[in-house]
Symmetry: D2
Subunit: 289 residues, 4 copies
């Protein structure tokens, strides 16, 4: 018996803002028998752009993915000059986790997978250190170590890309992976690599943000999950959260408090992606509700 959760399709689209887009899309879907489950739209008036996410039940819907593509293109997309993606939620997404030496985000993600909280597959974990191999083994997930040096970086990342593609990875999660990811890997997974940065970006981008936060004497620290682009720590932000600190908190205390934030904010960022709630436009994200 099929999983009930699998039986929906999600359309993400944006186009120049013009009257009648919502009417046209919802009429198109209704015509083909869709029962709309969620619809969220947004108009950015400053940019003049219309954004929409709509999700409907596949039960009773007349078009398969191929037929949808042809019909939607000619019926809607060409007319409104729309950029769009269709996602059939008929199989679990496949995640690759990248880690280094810190385990808190790794444990958190693996727990969500193993407990069934998230309906995903995690075929492999990649690291630049061997430290966390026992955690991967304990959860029964293949662990691949690619030590990175300036000399071998391009070559190692090429091997990683090959591995990711061979395993049909949909999304790469950098779960406190302490290496700057190179352009080849980024370009192989555009808007499909999510990183957790341990600060409230754009404050304290780069290395050692807790040290920098302590030195500046801020009263609140944060964490940021974002899509990775070639600009370090400058990609589109998916989620952020913060926690209050005081002068009593040493750098070590900031690290401890911050790790709880990192787990939460990374998980929420990945969850939004899994739900196909995110759409990137000009280095910002629309996170539909």
């Amino acid at each position: 018996m099929a999983d009930r959760r699998a039986r929906t399709a999600t359309l993400l689209m944006h186009c120049p803002d013009r009257p009648g887009v919502v009417a046209a899309v919802t009429r198109f879907l209704a015509t083909h028998g869709a029962n709309i489950v969620d619809l969220d739209q947004h108009v950015d008036r400053a940019e003049g752009v219309f954004f929409m996410r709509v999700r409907w039940e596949l039960e009773g819907f007349a078009l398969d993915a191929e037929a949808f593509e042809a019909a939607f293109r000619s019926g809607i997309a060409d007319h409104f000059d729309a950029v769009w993606q269709l996602h059939h939620q008929d199989r679990p997404l496949r995640l690759a986790l990248f880690v280094s030496k810190m385990s808190h985000c790794l444990y958190d993600l693996l727990s969500r997978w193993q407990s069934g909280e998230w309906r995903v597959e995690i075929p492999l974990i990649i690291s630049n250190h061997d430290t966390l191999r026992p955690v991967a083994q304990q959860f029964g997930i293949p662990f691949h170590c690619f030590a990175i040096s300036p000399e071998n970086k391009a070559e190692q990342e090429a091997a990683e890309i090959e591995l990711l593609e061979r395993h049909g990875i949909d999304l790469v999660v950098l779960a406190r992976y302490m290496q700057i990811v190179g352009p080849a890997l980024i370009n192989a997974f555009p808007q499909r690599i999510i990183n957790i940065h341990h600060s409230f970006l754009p404050a304290f981008a780069g290395a050692r943000p807790y040290h920098a936060a302590h030195a500046r004497g801020v009263k609140i620290i944060g964490a940021t999950s974002h899509y990775v682009t070639e600009d370090l720590d400058a990609g589109p932000i998916i989620d952020q959260d913060v926690t209050r600190i005081t002068h009593r908190d040493s750098i070590k205390a900031l690290v401890r408090k911050g790790q709880d934030l990192e787990k939460l904010v990374l998980a929420r960022g990945v969850w939004a992606h899994l739900q196909r709630q995110t759409l990137v436009y000009r280095n910002r994200t629309i996170v539909f509700s």
Copy 2:
């Protein structure tokens, strides 16, 4: 020259959930020349109810309020069995503020009005004490004192209702008004009376919530803005917020910290109403974005 902000209409509606509602409504609006500015919809699957808020520019829209009513009823509402309200934002709403002896919410609301942050009119302030008359005078607003006793309560509230109706009041704001409002007044302004309660409801309903919070030893206190119904402190919640406290905070400190919450949460609740973002259904609010 007309205020640009005045030139929109907002439709709030709910109906049994059926396919095609969004399509029908947006097509209806498009047919009559509406340029949709905001559209937010929600389906409560457990209840099987569809909710929608849609706002459009009146510029170029073919129907005035009367013509809309006739066309929308026959074209949409009867077909989908919809309950709906149309709001033309072509004039400022008229607010009456009810206060007792504490001034913090009163100052906050008057400041938002006088500074132009809110485009509203405040024709009168009503109180059961004379204490805050000087504040009303300073802001140039007529102040009406209705002392309330068990014996005269019904009579006094009848006089208040008469006064409110004579001044064409759209919304009553209980800005720390320390009297239980009677049924006649509540029924005269259904879903048009907003109260601020100084706790995180449903915790600490009733009198002296800061004392109760202190006695219980909670680590967070809150405030709640809600529509007033005949059940005390049990009406539909519009907004809530909280702040962290510690064992160091005396009851006096809770009051001081809580007052900042009360100002904020009341203002946000009133703002949501002014924007016509709120819809009440079975003692809960939909607060559209």
Copy 3:
């Protein structure tokens, strides 16, 4: 080589508020060679009670635990009529985790232990269901299942107490244990049982708080960690936290968002206990910083 973290002692005390307590205690410690690391005091003026936590390095301190007891009693405690506890942080505390069917808090606590984030020992996990045995096994921790029925409850809890005492358990953590704990167990571990309740207490005490929160239409949900007393969900609160929700959140979404809160708030409550930062007085906690 000894763990640096182990080399401190912590004194928690309270007494009637009188001038000179801080001076007397700090002079007492200085006289015996203590280097104070942390000192936090609080006076509850309404109750007339003085509270203090002081932590000092054992390196160079002249008194062992026994000698401290004698000297502190005659030198300070008797004079000021003080209630006090001394904790030597020279060994990891021993925790027992109680669970039922939900795993999110269990994974979180086990991860903090296994990663070394927390310096504790977890000699056993107790459950009233067999569901989470695989998780315990995966982390290599003995799992004891005590099925509870109204008939066998007292007997089973007696067996649990025996097991806990045999393993030298310092702290019992109810990590979403869905059974009301009986008085014998509570009295065997006074102020040494911490529970996570999945609401912002005192709102929604008892069963199914997410359902109740949804029905009431609150805009914020919470979680509460507290010491267990014989009054259900009414023991001294250690920590609370909240997250914002909207009308869009189904009960299922509340559960999902709430579980992240539960993990965090339980972990923070246990951490405060581990650090000996908590002191209970009249059903409230002092949580020293």
Copy 4:
């Protein structure tokens, strides 16, 4: 009859961390008859610095300010190489408010003063524009307009300093004053000028932070109150707070939401100063509880 609140003294001090400081200070105070009301201490282990705030009742205390100075210097300060300030809370502090064209912080501060929530005096308001003169007049406070141009800036600020000193101003509050304050004014009021910056510093320092936040696509905005130093927006932070935003929020909406934060964070920063809870050390603040 004297105001009960006036009858305390507060000592703020820091010195190299050595054993026995707390004991020495509290013994010193006890010897002279002080009943300690609050004591909060902090040791920065990384810096090796001890910080303390202690407040006691003047009733029954044997030393007046002058006698205290002599006795404390020879008895404590010289011995421990301490830097210290004594504050007798026997009169309201005198505040000057600096504003430009935006009124939200001004209304908020004036309301706290006029309602008696804050026991302060506000002898004057200074502005570089005439816009808010009516607000000052409404609250009965003298309003001084000093239009600033690059040519006259030094001269105008000299006049402002003269005015501030003539009125015995203790604290300058920049309540959205949109002018960079020059070094002469800063040096005339070291650690006695508090500014509100409308971002979560160090993110978005400088002009137009809401525009920058919108462009970067952050999911949370903030506000920061800080002491003013010659480095723009880089002085010691007293308080910060944040609020969640979404892609739906236009720049105008950020401004609206941010103004509520600004009011709150500025008020809390000023309050902490009024309570003598703040101590600046190396561009960071200790904010005692």
